[in-house]
Symmetry: C2
């Protein structure tokens, strides 16, 4: 299918020409310690111009790590923008040039102390398509070995475990509201039911990806 | 339980004092046409100081609207920050002072032309807890009446329908990656299976909420 892919893409873009916006120019609005924001001028499908403001983000990973007894490795962390402690799957931003799996392995180890022998990439999600370039790669991990965690200075979080049923109950009753964790719960539920399958790879075989 | 609630909240905050960050000061970084960003200085749990940069957002709603034959009302829309056309549940931002249900009704009507007689609030999600205050209220709608949509100037989107099975297949195969839509798919799957229940209300009875 590879030779046909560019043609298929071109055909799709043509079919979506009544929706697609073209960049005319780009202006940096903010280069903070964390937030990097831009305002682009775009050509709308009807020929008019509009501005689009958004945050540029390096991308991130999330890890759904399951212990031998089926329990999930979760975190509780204070999230300042929403002013509350959130229950989440472990996650973190890609370092410059870092591969997705390497990032997933690093973040799981640093934040929870666990290493995993088996990994599977489930998919990708875009958490905030209206004002950020961010994507989050969703990884499953199993065959876990506990170890020492290595939190960054100024990083405070609790590591805990819960059964899939407890996590799903939390999604239902409002104690889990983190968007990436809800998307992860969709994957988890369908993988556990057998409706969706994963392609597992050993950590060693994939360390270069 | 109301008289005890403040005590329970205080006890929870005390129990989380090893996680919670306290605001010391706040500085506006950017007041754009859309993005409104701040940098706050916070006191960390260990007594040190750190800065937190985030976007202030008014909040939003998402609508999972189901036709009589079970098909879902969906949108295809170009999302400039991620440079692609995304398949999504209808959604939109709260106007100043607007109630959540009123916003859900307005957005569904404006973007798709549908009005719904029955509504149920499923829950809330936080799409981007590390750098935005945004929340998205998740609404289900049924008993739909088609009508004329009223898009804003400069708004371009396709309205389409899909079965729940088609939507879930899209979540699995990577053609649906919008975070709010994945979280909505988790709700949809569990409501349709009967695992999670909704509290339906008529549109008229709830117009003041």
């Amino acid at each position: 299918m590879a030779p046909g892919a560019p043609i298929a893409q071109a055909a799709e873009q043509l079919a979506d020409s009544h929706l697609v916006e073209q960049r005319l120019s780009s202006q940096e609005l903010l280069h903070g310690n964390f937030l990097h924001a831009f305002r682009d001028t775009v050509r709308l499908p009807d020929g008019n111009e509009a501005s689009r403001e958004y945050v540029r983000h390096p991308g991130a990973v999330m890890v759904i790590a399951q212990l031998g007894d089926g329990r999930l490795v979760l975190e509780r962390q204070y999230r300042y923008p929403v002013q509350r402690v959130m229950l989440e799957f472990p996650a973190g931003k890609l370092d410059a040039g870092e591969a997705s799996l390497a990032c997933a392995q690093r973040e799981l180890l640093e934040e929870t102390g666990y290493s995993a022998a088996l990994w599977a990439r489930a998919g990708v999600m875009h958490p905030v398509i209206s004002y950020s370039t961010e994507f989050i790669d969703i990884w499953f991990a199993k065959d876990l070995t506990p170890g020492e965690r290595k939190l960054d200075a100024g990083e405070f979080l609790d590591v805990l475990t819960a059964t899939p049923a407890e996590l799903l109950q939390g999604c239902r009753d409002g104690s889990v509201t983190d968007g990436k964790t809800l998307a992860g719960a969709l994957w988890l539920q369908n993988v556990l039911s057998g409706a969706w399958t994963l392609d597992w790879q050993t950590s060693a075989a994939s360390s270069g990806t």
